[in-house]
């Protein structure tokens, strides 16, 4: 923007860089030590590894994957993340379209209700939710956590897609109506194709959220076969095995973070847009 010139400017620049560098270091160091520790041999490890090992190993990753069941957990996390995101996104698309195109009594109230429920955290409803799931006989069955997660994701998804669809030119839908298109056709041939960026963003943000969630799978998928990565880490971390074998734990943590890093690398713009959209409004 504006740079003071001469040595005053240089001094300011050094201060700026120094400050940001320190902050960046603080932000990156924990992940750095996580990675470093994950490649340490368990026998060489003595509590803290600040520098990369001279004889790194992939043993921790192998062990965590094949012996501690992280392979299964990875699959479970993926299933939970992708299905709940898919369900939430598709249901939200239909609802957003309905809110945008339909006029009916109580529409404003319903929309306000949806916006209000965005603020309801899982912890508040987890008690009756687990009871409901037990009564439905769904605890420890696939649908329970997936539906619960999707339900939690829906309000925000509807909000995102509604604000986006609302900005599509009304004339397009009016032209389609006069042309004889049914609402279904308007939805599939006009609304959805034009809402593609918002759909991608909604899906990604939802998938990330579901991937990261601890509480729902902890309560609703208690069977060992259904453990997700986050639940696995939560059980392993504070346990004896975790505290005694830090490299193993760090390998597990790294595995849980990798897909996010990949998603971010590939779709950074879509993800960031989703986060900022929630704030712009």
């Amino acid at each position: 923007m504006r740079r003071a010139s001469g040595w005053r400017g240089a001094l300011a620049a050094i201060a700026d860089h120094g400050f940001l560098l320190a902050l960046a270091a603080v932000c990156l160091l924990p992940l750095y030590v996580m990675l470093v520790a994950s490649f340490e041999r368990a026998t060489d490890f003595d509590g803290a590894a600040l520098l990369p090992s001279l004889s790194p190993t992939l043993e921790n990753y192998r062990a965590v994957w094949t012996e501690l069941g992280f392979d299964r957990m990875f699959v479970n996390s993926t299933v939970l993340s992708l299905s709940s995101a898919a369900i939430a996104t598709s249901l939200a698309a239909g609802a957003a379209f309905g809110f945008v195109r339909l006029r009916f009594a109580g529409r404003g109230l319903l929309l306000a209700g949806v916006i209000a429920t965005m603020a309801i955290p899982a912890i508040v409803v987890i008690v009756p939710l687990s009871v409901v799931m037990t009564e439905l006989g769904l605890v420890d069955r696939l649908p329970s956590a997936i539906l619960a997660e999707a339900g939690l994701l829906l309000p925000f998804a509807i909000f995102l897609l509604y604000t986006y669809m609302r900005d599509l030119p009304v004339e397009l839908f009016e032209a389609a109506e006069v042309d004889g298109a049914s609402r279904r056709r308007q939805f599939f041939e006009i609304a959805l194709p034009l809402a593609r960026p918002a759909l991608a963003t909604t899906f990604l943000v939802s998938a990330i959220y579901a991937w990261n969630d601890l509480l729902i799978p902890l309560v609703l998928w208690q069977a060992e076969a259904l453990t997700t990565l986050m639940v696995g880490l939560a059980l392993l971390g504070p346990s004896r095995a975790g505290t005694q074998n830090v490299p193993l734990l760090m390998a597990g943590a790294t595995i849980s973070i990798l897909p996010l890093a990949a998603a971010f690398a590939l779709a950074r713009r879509a993800i960031v847009r989703g986060l900022v959209e929630g704030g712009e409004r």
Binding site: A175, D179, G180, E189, L194
Partner: protein, 391 residues
């Protein structure tokens, strides 16, 4: 557009339209339509014209079904369609901003309405190709709207309507986004197309020049009401009220304050400003309503070809030339009159004259009114005092 003949419906496909007692109040209280009655005959090109906010677009959308009426009826082909969805009314609409589907190619845009109505693929392709050929869109069939120019998009919008062979066409200022030259050119093409198709069309515009050159009949609207429905000549020669008089024409008539008084030989004299115009008995015979209005204040409409300029003191209204606009073969002269407007304020008459002979700015002149060309309106209601149709 192209020279090949576009398959028109066999005429039985098009229908008449009617709005009866149409009222539209928007939530929030705006009264867009205050009792509109309009009839459009089978195959006619009816233009709705008026300033922005007059309700013309609302009336069009009401016919399409996009705007449900608060009161009144919409009829298409004699049947009441007021409760029908737009999709069921079988009309086609061309939007001001074209409303082309951005994610579809031109071909799919054209075919959309046919697909929505489940027309068979062969028939669909045939019609799309035919219309594309007629509108010179063949080469553009695989392009997306964002790759087209304004004029091309406009043609696709028209094509999308034509290909459906609807009962009526509704056009909402389809030319207002084009540049002036293209607008004039396309205007003519639309008129020719409409004639060839024999399609019932309602055309909305705010440009009165466009309205007068296009429509077989024109409806002038203001404030949610129709002021007059007539042929273009009728609107110009016999305006029904002061609004129409002051709106139609290039330039429109000038409106002045006057008072009718009796005169010798059964004539009537109209005092305007510091001058007068006299209507003799023969002229009055054709305008009986004027007799009844003797003694009243009136608004006098002076068409641009309704007066001559003479030297000062020449027996007309005194005034000064305020502006002289050279239009090429003609000159528009604005003369400022003292004491001829509302409540004694200044007023201006604008006249059209041939080149040369017109006075220069600042010259004092005398405005000699031609009594036979004047229109008279009731000062309070603004409605015209009756006048026969003979000209």
């Amino acid at each position: 557009m192209g020279s090949s003949r576009v398959a028109s419906g066999d005429g039985s496909a098009v229908a008449s339209l009617a709005l009866t007692g149409a009222h539209k109040v928007f939530p929030g209280g705006t009264q867009a339509l205050r009792g509109v009655d309009l009839e459009v005959a089978d195959g006619e090109l009816m233009v709705l014209v008026g300033p922005s906010g007059c309700g013309k677009t609302t009336a069009l959308r009401a016919i399409a079904g996009l705007e449900p009426l608060t009161a009144g009826r919409v009829e298409i082909g004699g049947a009441d369609v007021s409760e029908l969805e737009p999709a069921a009314r079988d009309v086609a609409m061309v939007f001001q901003n074209y409303a082309l589907y951005p994610n579809m190619t031109v071909a799919r845009n054209l075919a959309f309405g046919l697909r929505a109505r489940r027309v068979a693929r062969e028939e669909r392709d045939r019609r799309v190709l035919e219309v594309a050929r007629a509108l010179e869109l063949e080469e553009l069939l695989d392009r997306r709207p964002r790759q087209l120019s304004g004029g091309q998009r406009q043609r696709v919008a028209m094509g999308r309507a034509i290909v459906r062979e609807p009962r009526a066409f509704l056009m909402d200022e389809p030319l207002s986004n084009l540049d002036a030259r293209l607008r004039v050119q396309t205007r003519g093409e639309i008129v020719r197309l409409q004639a060839r198709l024999g399609a019932t069309t309602v055309y909305v515009t705010h440009d009165q020049v466009e309205a007068l050159t296009m429509g077989s009949r024109v409806a002038v609207m203001d404030g949610g009401r129709i002021r007059q429905v007539d042929t273009p000549a009728g609107l110009y020669d016999r305006p029904a009220d002061t609004f129409v008089a002051g709106f139609v024409g290039s330039p429109p008539a000038s409106l002045l304050r006057g008072r009718l008084g009796p005169c010798a030989d059964g004539a009537i004299v109209c005092a305007v400003g510091d001058g007068a115009a006299t209507l003799g008995a023969p002229a009055l015979a054709a305008r009986p309503a004027l007799r009844a209005a003797v003694g009243r204040e009136v608004v006098v409409g002076v068409p641009a070809d309704g007066f001559t300029l003479g030297p000062p003191g020449g027996g007309g209204l005194s005034g000064t030339v305020a502006l002289a606009e050279l239009l090429g073969a003609e000159t528009l002269v604005h003369v400022e009159l003292t004491d001829a407007g509302q409540a004694g304020a200044r007023a201006t008459v604008v006249g059209r004259f041939g080149r040369g002979g017109a006075a220069a700015v600042g010259d004092p002149v005398s405005v000699v009114l031609d009594p036979e060309r004047l229109d008279f309106f009731d000062a309070e209601s603004g409605l015209a005092l009756e006048r026969p149709a003979v000209r």
